[in-house]
């Protein structure tokens, strides 16, 4: 077992979720504006309602990372609605299952957790990379995390790589035509607009990079 600071605890997980909530609050209007362009103008509004409810339910008695993640999952499923509720809810639910009842997580657990979350999103929404959805940010982020850790980089550097990959993936959705969700009805007219779900996913990896790195953030 490594130094205590090198493992992810329930406290770290809670900080991660709280940071995600802050980033959603700060970017809610942007997310809604992006959704207005190619969807139904509610992504920021719905996510903000969800993370506010999460904030109310996070508590000391969730003593494992898995318990924190499960609380986030059930709260998002019952508060967000739209497509993002089931998608983010499923992501956190699968992450919680991957974390299990472990007191704390090491790097390999973290990779398994994010990979399980991605698989949940793919299954629930049926989207592939290139469909102009949150998968376009999620998938490269998980791949970057895996690759960096496999190359022996530290967790902080690996999460930084994941964050950059998520943002690059989100940027790349601007040039795509959507094949899932309401944006798919736009055809060519969706080109030139960023997918809002890909941006909220990039914010998720921003939060991870800022709170889960092992160098005392």
């Amino acid at each position: 077992m490594g130094r205590l600071g090198t493992r992810v605890t329930a406290v770290d997980t809670r900080r991660f979720v709280e940071r995600f909530a802050e980033l959603i609050e700060q970017n809610a209007d942007t997310l809604t504006e992006l959704d207005a362009a190619i969807g139904d103008a509610d992504h920021g509004i719905n996510m903000r309602r969800g993370v506010r409810a999460v904030g109310e339910r996070l508590a000391e008695e969730q003593t494992t990372p898995g318990a924190v993640l499960k609380t986030v999952a059930t709260t998002l499923i019952s508060k967000v609605g739209g497509a993002s509720g089931p998608l983010y809810g499923t992501a956190f639910l699968r992450a919680a299952a991957a974390a299990g009842t472990k007191e704390s997580l090491e790097d390999a657990d973290l990779v398994a957790l994010f990979a399980a979350a991605l698989e949940g999103v793919r299954q629930r929404g049926g989207a592939q990379a290139g469909d102009k959805t949150m998968v376009d940010a999620f998938e490269p982020a998980v791949e970057a995390l895996e690759t960096a850790l496999a190359q022996g980089q530290g967790r902080g550097a690996a999460l930084e790589a994941a964050r950059e990959a998520a943002h690059a993936g989100s940027d790349a959705t601007i040039d795509l035509v959507a094949r899932k969700g309401r944006a798919s009805y736009l055809g060519e007219r969706a080109r030139g607009h960023r997918d809002p779900g890909s941006l909220s996913t990039a914010l998720l990896f921003d939060a991870a990079a800022e709170t889960l790195s092992d160098n005392g953030s």
């Binding site: 139904d40 103008a41 509610d42 089931p86 998608l87 629930r124 929404g125 798919s184 736009l186 055809g187």
Partner: protein, 333 residues
């Protein structure tokens, strides 16, 4: 934004309270999780019809609760699908052992949230069936999109499946007629103006003074084309012909026709539109067996209309004519 809105947060709840204030004999309101249900439970075992979706399409779905139609409806936030807790609670509240039919419009969020609820209910041994409406012919390339959107035919599915459920039909029978009705209907809509989602406060899309959108969705999703303003008759033709072609209507066929307002269109304009729809159908040798003209599936304050045609036969007409007593549809009682 000038609106009859007290507060965004309580907007949907207050509207639900208003439905109950107007129709306490028909509808009751459960606040948390949110659903509307029949005020009086039906006598005897019956398949429970549960629908729902984002708010902003009134009278769909809450206005169609009552004898001969829905048992419960789950209103989400404006244009946002309801959450699984709502459908789970609503279905448990209204089912009495005969099974449950979910009527779901084909939108990514609605499908996923109803799916999650169905999983929860089936886990407790409740028989849940789902019919998905997907009748919007404006969506042409359904292979590369989320598929056709569920719009006007949903009203007919709720009415006709409701009639079979009310007379004691089995879950199999109710599911079968719901699917048959869903497949027999097609729709297309258009917008003269955008709608405004209250929480956003500004129009969802911009249309110039002399522009219209043909093939609009009920949340303002763009349609087939944006074009210059044309006459009411020409608009009706642009909507009716794709619907007639897609249904494959032939001389001698008969239909139930709905000319529906999007929310801000005066009834007098809807009648002008329906007048020409009748002419177009007559020209094609198609009889209008029954007609609905009014606001049945709306898009907040959007100005525009949609046309839905349901290929009719004796069975569907008989079920359509069966008694119904809801806030928004009432006949035969």
């Amino acid at each position: 934004m000038k609106k009859l809105i007290n507060a965004i947060e309580s907007f949907v709840d207050e509207a639900c309270e208003g439905v109950v204030a107007a129709h306490p004999d028909l509808v009751r309101f459960h606040r948390e999780p949110r659903f509307l249900a029949r005020a009086a439970a039906p006598k005897g075992r019956k398949v429970a019809l549960v629908s729902g979706g984002g708010s902003g399409h009134e009278p769909l779905h809450g206005g169609f609760i009552g004898v001969g139609m829905l048992d419960a409806a789950c209103p989400g936030e404006v244009f946002t699908s309801p959450v699984p807790d709502q459908m789970d609670a609503a279905a448990r509240a209204v089912q009495n052992g005969g099974g449950v039919l979910f009527i779901v419009k084909n939108y990514t969020g609605d499908i996923m949230n109803f799916d999650l609820a169905a999983e929860l209910l089936r886990g407790d041994g409740i028989d849940v069936r789902t019919v998905i409406t997907a009748d919007d012919v404006a969506v042409q390339d359904s292979t590369w999109t989320a598929g056709r959107r569920g719009v006007g035919v949903t009203v007919f599915v709720e009415k006709i499946a409701g009639a079979v459920a009310e007379r004691g039909g089995s879950a199999d029978e109710v599911e079968k007629i719901a699917k048959r009705t869903s497949e027999a209907g097609r729709s297309m809509g258009m917008a003269l103006t955008s709608c405004t989602v209250p929480a956003k406060g500004s129009p969802t899309f911009e249309l110039g003074e002399t522009e219209i959108e043909i093939g609009i969705g009920i949340h303002g999703e763009p349609g087939r084309e944006r074009t210059k303003l044309i006459s009411a008759d020409e608009i009706v033709e642009r909507l009716a012909h794709p619907v007639i072609e897609d249904l494959g209507l032939k001389r001698g066929d008969s239909v139930i026709a709905m000319t529906n307002g999007m929310g801000s269109t005066p009834l007098i304009e809807l009648y002008v539109a329906h007048r020409h729809l009748a002419k177009v159908l007559a020209g094609a040798g198609v009889t209008i067996a029954r007609a609905l003209v009014g606001n049945y599936i709306t898009s907040l304050d959007m100005d525009g209309c949609s046309i839905t045609l349901l290929r009719a036969d004796d069975e569907l007409l008989r079920l359509y004519d069966a008694p119904v007593h809801t806030p928004a549809l009432r006949w035969g009682v």
